[in-house]
């Protein structure tokens, strides 16, 4: 416990960009990147593996985004999650990014592979762990690293509370150029209010112990006998600027069709599409 507190205290640095940092799905993006305390799909792998326990069906999902519609970075996400023994949930996902060929790059690839497990401790508590492998090749400058995420979910009546520590333990990225980069932990906390059966509000804080913490707000609303899930949210950016998020999921017995939008103040519209298959 002391070690955990120590690590949490370490998570006070302001995190800027790093390879592999961005991870999104239509569902998480459309509800303002609030996924720490509630998820219905493979977003749980990215936002809090403790949430995997709550998903009681086998799901396969493929997502695609041309990030910020720049015609530059293609983002692919594929995942598989399955309820598992010992009141658990298992999840795998691969994130792959490529650069548009029109930009004439010599060589580029970047991917992250997640293997996650969520465990139900008791009626009120879940925990989850992800082990990840990162790999990047930027113009023959290559690097890889192993990292892990840890999450906790506290379930009360009308309330979920989640803590997620991304990259809680990891080794450094050692590039071929001898440059070494530390993968710093990132902490997120989240709260979801189950106000009504079909309506939830979520609120996440990134870097809650840092003076530069960030706020995320999202809601989700089930319509037409849960055939449609409508999402919306706000993401804090910088200088009091925000991103407005919106999206929906069309749910059928076997397929889910997903779309998420985020209107970034400076970068414009970010769109992500996805298809889920249920077994």
């Amino acid at each position: 416990m002391k070690k955990l507190v120590f690590i949490i205290l370490l998570c006070t640095k302001s995190i800027f960009a790093k390879a592999f940092e961005e991870s999104l799905t239509p569902y998480s993006l459309s509800k303002g990147s609030t996924g720490t305390s509630f998820a219905i799909d493979s977003s749980a792998i990215l936002y809090n593996p403790a949430l995997l326990v709550e998903i009681r069906e086998t799901l396969f999902e493929i997502d695609y985004s041309n990030l910020y519609n720049l015609g530059a970075v293609n983002y692919y996400f594929s995942s598989f999650i399955k309820p598992f023994i010992w009141r658990g949930g298992l999840g795998f996902c691969i994130i792959y990014k490529s650069i548009d060929s029109s930009l004439l790059l010599n060589e580029f690839s970047e991917y992250a592979i997640y293997s996650s497990y969520g465990l139900n401790i008791n009626k009120f508590l879940n925990c989850g762990l992800s082990v990840k492998y990162y790999y990047a090749n930027y113009n023959f400058n290559k690097s890889s690293a192993i990292s892990s995420d840890f999450g906790i979910l506290l379930k009360l009546n009308f309330l979920n509370f989640g803590i997620f520590i991304k990259d809680i333990i990891s080794n450094d990225l050692k590039w071929y150029s001898d440059n070494k980069e530390e993968i710093e932990p990132l902490i997120r906390t989240g709260l979801t209010l189950n106000l009504f059966e079909n309506f939830k509000i979520s609120y996440d804080i990134e870097n809650p112990l840092n003076k530069n913490f960030k706020n995320f707000l999202g809601f989700e609303f089930f319509l037409f006998n849960k055939t449609i899930l409508l999402n919306g949210g706000l993401m804090e950016l910088y200088y009091n600027k925000i991103a407005l998020n919106f999206g929906f999921i069309l749910r059928t017995n076997f397929f889910d069709f997903k779309i998420g939008f985020s209107q970034h103040y400076d970068l414009g519209l970010n769109t992500i599409l996805g298809v889920g298959i249920k077994f």
Binding site: L104, L105, E110, Y138
Partner: protein
Amino acid sequence: MLRYLLIFFLFIQLYLRSEVIDSFENLSGWSLPQISSNAFASIENVEGYKNKCLKFSVDFNDGFWAQTYKEFKYYDLSEGDILKFYYKYDGDPVNLYFNLNNNEKLVLGLNPTSVWLPCTIDLKQFSNIDLSKIELMKFVIFGSAGFKGSLTIDQLQLLRLFPVSSSNLLIDNYEDNEDYNTLLSGVVQYNFLYPTGTNDYILKSTNSSENFLILRYVKGTKGKEVKWIIKFFGTAYTNFSQFDNIKFKIKSNSPDVKIGVSLQYSGYIYNLNSSTHNFYNNWQTIKIPVKYFIDRDLKSVGEIQFIFLLKNFIENDLNSFEIYIDDLELEREFKPEGVVKTVENFEYFNSSSWSKFGHNNNKIEVSSVDGIDGKSFKIDFNFIDGDFLLIERYFYLNLRNKILKFKFKSEGEINNLEVKVSDKKDWQNVSVTYIRKFYNIVGTTCDWIELKIEPDDWQYFSSDNDKIRKSLNLGQIEKIWLTISQSGNSQKSSFYIDELELTEKLESNYILKNGKIIESFKIENIYFSPNNDGFNDRVKFLFNLKEDCKISLYIFNLKGELVKSIFNYGEPFNFNKGEHFIEWDGRDDNNKILDNGIYIFKFIAESSAIREEVKKIIIISK
């Protein structure tokens, strides 16, 4: 008119560099506030924008101003520079003034803010003072009686904008009669073992209308070698480029004086050749390439020392003499298109820098002869009973995504030329993979041939075929061979080589053409590596404006977080119609070099009627 022309040219080519003047991690040097009577004020070190910062609290009571200041030994600023800092303020509305060498200018009105805001001070408004010798900086708050407030300031930075076109940066023309003791010291070294300081060799500038520096040797002083060290402080000249030259005029009143020049932290001494530079009673302009001194490491050398070393004084009764120096400048040449490094132009023949080796009894001789633009390197060889011969040299090169090129010609029989590089110096002792390329060199007297080796041309080859190691680090090549192998019955031949250069494999990415106000926009290379190794350390945004515009340039990470505003966020910078470029060194707003990854830039041009923007990516791979 001249002033406006200068400003115009300044903005044609911008070179943007920043450094932190004070990060306020402690309050070292910051003096307790000076305040008006009956006022109260204090400074303290508290948590700030980045770690610690300066908190300046005032309670004017019956007074109306308070100030805190720091004295600098010497800070070299210029009109083109911009000072930037981050601040927060809590309290009654007051005005913040900034003071340089007791010259005060209003910076901004302070209103309560709960977030850190950047603030910039354009030093053009301080044009009435000598910015090159800043010794005092003050933050001054003016308000009304009874007002209270707390100003926190962090990360005081200098953003230096200066032209990168051909220009000479004057270090000293010795026209004024300053006390040079702080800049110059003279010592006699006894066999380089025990330097002893003495005032006998301290120079003085003359008081004539045309002043210069005099290095005076007084007869009777014992010693084998004499040297004077000229030290330069400040920041303007500490980041050398390999295209820079040290330039100065020199003459002596003795025909026997031999002079060497060296730079601090450099083991090299550049000898001025008395036979080619007759500086006996004759002003000679000497131009010494910086790359001669800093072959391996072009990082900042900090304080510069020019050491004028007088060699080979053995006699104790050497006659007195003087050396005169004037117009010491750093000359910054135009960078040839695409050339990132002149590896070797063979202008300064040094047979020890290139090692030669003849297999078995093959004979090989090297010499310096007239070349393409100055001197070239000539290799005379004679195949007797060996198969090959080679010349080799240690370098420190980043070949990643670079083209290695040189020019050669030959006389005599047909032979094979092989170029190899390795990332290991001591390749003989390990099984090391190197890469090579074969060329047939035609054995006739011919014109210079340019030979380019593209990144994809290199082939992996190992001295031990069983252990081919394909993980050669192209970013850290340490050795180059040129091997000539016998083809047929060739015997006596000559081979000339000149202008060995590294050029960028440019991937000019035209992102916008024929916009309404942006005529064109491109970046030269999507990848850049801001690791301060002298190669590809900056990304260059080139743009051509159809009319005068306000320009903003922001850098974001893929999460959409703003990591760098090239100018202040929301405060565009004015650019004139025409071609411009802006370089970014990969540092974020906290002056930290960003990690490897994909970043998005957003370039906005705004005229009175139109707003146009360009968004694309760049990749840091250092």
